[in-house]
Symmetry: D2
Subunit: 460 residues, 4 copies
């Protein structure tokens, strides 16, 4: 069956000022030019800075001055609209002000209200974009994400119920055919009817969810970066654009540190093998300048596609001479900790110790739970927080290419101790735990050693 839809997502940084809206319009035109006869679905983040402003206003509600922040947001969008307001536009701001009234009456911010409140950044911007680009015979149409995207109802960080959402959309597919749709990102609605957010960066997730539900030909995320880079440019000297990646690689990267992609975004596309393009907003639209994420598991020369990192790690160690030999200790520890709602990033075990790597914020929970584990076989429980995790991501890293050797050589040359290594759990990831103080040096050194002699399109 022919695929009729393309999903395009524009992030907040694409909406910085009046000029930007024109560029978004132009970009949409460029895509339309390349992919003729497709129905476009434009997913829109809040304008640059809006979410932070709304958040600030919400949490400083006692201060009447925050009303001027709302006014500021209003002015910005109104200006884009050339001062042509209308009832719908006004009603969105009216709602924002009503919700502020509510928190003032209640003297607190209930979680459900926060989600609805913040969703207005996207709602306003999507409507603004619609008004900006529509002309007389415009085929553009606004769709409320709350009507179409069904979530599990977890406030602040909900998961899309993918099948339910697809079913809903397919049951009214006629409303998507024949038009270009503009959809505010970042939120959906639970079965109970509450607006819930999809987590920071959730507009990516909105886009891939729609890609899946509409069985799109491709999903395009326009970023102010040139797709995925081989390393964080703040750390590595001149990172390269990764031209192509597998879903697995992108997934790994989105988990650990890489800010490019929201961690839930890959799943909907993997399910039906729809390619995802992460493209730079700057310059002319060119597929060759995007990172293409797909089923394709090719191995590059360096094997490593990208180097990610986080210093949000705490290592909790359980020691006991017989841990490995007494069945059940690992089960008991990990069950109890999971029961306490803590997510374990990964585990490194030997016959005499079990190490859990968790988020720093979870450390106190883990230690509290650990105390309740009365196992004779545990001699000692200790933890470390001044560590950092480096994740090398790429297919083929453990193959005969000597990547691991290069990495450890360069670390040894730089006098850096590696605390822990775990590799091979899946086919694309290689984790190192090192001292946090060594993080920058390590990243720079590893990046240089893996990528320096390659002939590649430098983004500089």
């Amino acid at each position: 069956m022919e695929k009729r839809f393309l999903v395009l997502k524009f992030g907040g940084s694409n909406f910085k000022d009046f000029e930007c809206y024109s560029e978004v319009k132009r970009k949409i035109g460029e895509v339309e030019e390349v992919f003729k006869d497709k129905h476009l679905v434009i997913v829109v983040s809040a304008a640059f800075g809006t979410t932070d402003k709304l958040l600030h206003a919400l949490y400083n509600f006692r201060d009447q001055k925050v009303d001027s922040i709302i006014d500021e947001i209003y002015e910005f969008h109104l200006q884009v609209l050339n001062n042509r307001t209308d009832g719908y536009f006004e009603s969105l701001f009216e709602r924002i002000r009503e919700l502020l009234t509510v928190v003032r009456i209640l003297n607190k911010v209930p979680p459900f209200l926060k989600d609805e409140f913040l969703s207005h950044g996207e709602q306003i911007n999507a409507y603004t974009l619609l008004k900006f680009i529509e002309d007389e015979d415009s085929r553009f149409e606004l769709k409320d994400a709350g009507e179409w995207i069904i979530t599990d109802g977890k406030f602040g960080n909900s998961t899309v119920l993918l099948e339910k959402t697809k079913e809903k959309i397919q049951s009214e597919i006629n409303r998507w055919n024949g038009v270009h749709s503009i959809v505010p990102g970042f939120y959906g609605r639970s079965v109970e009817g509450d607006v819930t957010l999809l987590g920071r960066g959730g507009s990516d997730y909105t886009a891939t969810t729609l890609g899946y539900s509409l069985d799109a030909e491709a999903v395009f995320l326009f970023k102010d970066v040139n797709g995925f880079l081989s390393c964080d440019p703040k750390v590595a000297e001149s990172p390269y654009i990764v031209k192509s990646m597998s879903y697995d690689e992108a997934d790994e990267l989105s988990y650990f540190g890489a800010k490019v992609l929201q961690y839930n975004s890959i799943e909907p596309l993997r399910k039906s093998s729809i390619p995802l393009y992460v493209c730079s907003f700057d310059g002319v639209f060119d597929l060759n300048r995007c990172t293409r994420i797909s089923d394709d598991k090719h191995v590059t020369e360096s094997c490593v596609k990208s180097i990610s990192y986080t210093d949000d790690v705490a290592v909790v160690q359980f020691k006991g001479r017989n841990l490995g030999r007494v069945p059940g200790v690992l089960g008991e520890i990990s069950s109890k900790i999971a029961h306490g709602g803590v997510n374990i990033k990964f585990v490194i075990t030997s016959q005499t110790s079990i190490n859990l790597i968790v988020s720093k914020s979870a450390l106190s929970d883990v230690l509290r739970i650990a105390e309740t584990i009365r196992l004779d076989d545990i001699d000692e429980i200790s933890y470390k927080i001044d560590k950092a995790l480096i994740a090398l991501v790429g297919h083929g890293m453990l193959d005969k290419h000597g990547i691991a050797a290069k990495v450890f050589s360069v670390l040894a040359d730089n006098g850096i101790n590696v605390e822990m290594i775990s590799a091979g759990s899946n086919e694309v990831s290689f984790y190192l735990i090192i001292d946090r103080k060594d993080l920058e040096v390590s990243l720079r050194a590893i990046h240089r050693s893996l990528f320096e002699n390659r002939v590649f399109s430098n983004i500089g």
Copy 2:
């Protein structure tokens, strides 16, 4: 308090023929010479090949010809004794024959009977040695391990109840003072009164248990190898003797593959910091030619003390995109598998998969249990059995010495894929999973790269 006891253990290969008994006697004399005024405790394995012969006889009980195997064992020991039999010697063989009668009547081999049956190899040899070395005013005395060593009662592979055993021995310490004791290794007796074996190589465990219980100055294990080697001589070209090791290092080595030491043996000594010497039986007794195992955690030039390996590994992989994010999956899997009595060697996890490394014999159990785990989040379960595990053991390996780099370089140079890496769980171990077919090449290459230029006493 002055330490009065020394424990010496002689393995089966020290009792190959008549000559050997003289050499054991001479070795005992040499030790006595070096450590004057100590009470010696001599732990004795069955004579070379005896345990295998007994096992063969037991499981072929229907064949009356196996009686001649018992006769063979009888003849061997009688010859050592210069044909001087006596009532006790005869009674041991009488018991063996009675037990064979029992299995013939029952037409099966009950587990408890097997343990008692096999213990006779050690009992006979200990008595034979006693008779061989005692002269008129001999201070040597036989002690029945079943009277002194108290076990948890698990047939075939029991654990010593260390504190109970020490208490028992200390309560009658006078019977150990003033004499040299000869003790059959390999078995003890449960609280219920059953003879139970301490697992293959269990005489080492007997020796260290007695070392702990008698608060010995040191324990000496005489082997037909020169202490711990830097690698298996069957694989590496010219391995070195490791001069000194920490308990942790020896523990790691005994878990994975190294046949030198039974895996339970370190524990009793670690508890009271008693040094263990693993010495070659050949040549004159010389502490400098033994591997000394103690609290001392020194770092050698290569960091790695020894390279061990096993191909008794099966890797079971659970894949699921959300495994890392859904708390409880690891707990559920490892609990269920532990509940099924399976020991997990180690675990390698990432956000999208959980890999359990188990013994091959446990694979079918793990797969059966895995099927009962109805977790939505598991997409796929697979396994691999053509793998091998290499363990590098030594303090300081992950420090700035570039050991990891050397290892991965040499593997890459030899075109070897590494499947999995786990390092840093404790301070002394570094595990690699590779294809079994690459095992020998890998071991040889790693050994060469780590040890080749060192100035060391080559054992060749």
Copy 3:
């Protein structure tokens, strides 16, 4: 130490009209007369019907007409106050209206808001009573329950954190000394600062909580009934006032059906043996006409103190020939059901079946959970909902007094089938499950047979 405090609680039915307030004032005077030199603590429910009105307004918020309900409540209290309003009085109604505004904006009723909203019934009435009875040199003072009573934060039905509350009150005991306090009942505040309700009838609980925290000499609950009766007057012809009861008896009665006392109320008093008097509001205050609840476990002639009942029962039966013999079935069923948040009233088991008696509202949950219990040993699961539970409460019932015989005789004489019997779990209760259609006849017959010939103060 001398006990300085008395707690008096007046329920909603004591505040039906203007006259009532005078009577409450007179009643307080009477108590003051009897117990001289005590500091009174007056706990006040919302005026008659107010809570229902507030609830109605809250859930019909879309209908602007509900504003007139608020007006009605306002008018009622204003009239009591002889039209003397003031800032505080107005502010309470202002808050009610603000909260209505909030639910209108949100278009739903968040649980936390409901609790704060409903608490205004008590707040208004307590302030009204204060204003009503205070004169020039009045020693009466209003205390906000939200400042003193600390709850576990469960909206709608929270439990008081007794020790925390007592600590708080004792730390500022000077503010309670030397004055008579008026305290709105029914609510407290969580550690997080939310107003939370104590469940229907929660003002009783407020009173006993204050009794405990102030180490009161006694707590008096004024009801429009004459204390505990031997049976519900709607059913039994002429029930008697129970003169005295043990805490255990009162506890049992408050669990099953008896509306006199909130089920949490006994606990605070039992902890420090403070007597509770349940008194009729009508007539002159007379300790002899109250039911006294205390440590005293005396046995009356009929043994049974009171007969209670409920038809809110569902019986779920698990059948399986081996249920009694297979350890673990009961554990598995009850654990799973508890995990599902369902409270089991009681359990009746035999070797071949397990019967759970639960609230009707929990039935669907239990059945849903039951389906997930894959136990080979369960052959059949069935349920019944047309049943009623009768609880006979009193010490000594199973002793040689023939009470059980009387009860079963009279039921048999009336042709009534008993479905289940459970007695003796504790010392005071005897449960019967019968058909709901037989409930009234049974109650009347049992009451007559147990109480008819007794010489007692008839309340008629």
Copy 4:
């Protein structure tokens, strides 16, 4: 399909002396007369006293005098056989002696050996009966229970794998057709090939297992009692024979105290509605003088069919004011206790306590486990052992017939305290817990009050 088989079981008391064998032969003839053209399957217990003798011999194996016990058994059966021994007969005794040799060598009695050893009582008697009744053209044939009855392998007390057993028998049904089979009772064989006993009284279970597997028309158990009695004749003055009972009633009776029927025996018949007749061995065979156990749930005048009892009860009480309200306490307690392998007879709960009724032998286990239950909500754990359980069994007891009233009246008249009552869990049972010292008086009084005026066939 026509049912071709009848199963007859003769217990040990039917084989007391030489005369008995003639009577058994006659009884078989009588049954053959009544049910023409049926294939008889005769299940045989060990001769009177044989099992006890074997047990004595086994556990006193060190005493060579026990050999004479075996001789005694040999002589008894040889006499029945008129001194005609043969190879098979001798081989059975040979095996007994071999097994005694084994325990002497091992100096202990392994569980598996005990089962095989004891099964010889039945094997010998079945062969003896075969030889006794077979004549020239005899159609009688011996069948080894170990070949046909497949068990779960639990030594001493195994459960038959009913479907596997039926499958086995049906797959070779031709070997059962056309002959009368004689089958030793009490044992079967596990899948692993071990002989395992079916528990005390297990020959009943053998008979009903064969009834099920052969789809028999009926099963007859010949006892030295007249079927089920209304009460234990040692206690009640003149108990009646119960003419008819439902499977449920018989099941209940077999659980609690009644020695007539092994507790597993009903199950196989219930599955295919085969009637079971419990008949007196004395007198002429007359169906009307047997207790018929079937699907028929008729209600008798007294409702109660039989009164059973046991003083093997311990009551463990957990008190805590909130037990009933805190979900999970019951689950936690009963799970832990089940996990400890303890069978809970039944449970009596209220809102403030949980009472477990267990076997006395389990008390120490329960208390030990109870200590490990660290539940805040449990205030106190206590127990009682001087109690007895009375079970009244019969359909319709709780109906309008006033049975409960009669029972409680007569207990009150006799000044007996009832500690606990539980009734209605299933349709046939009513449990009372009383003081053990009151047991006899209670049983006699209850029996008299329920049965005294009935016109029934007195067995006196």
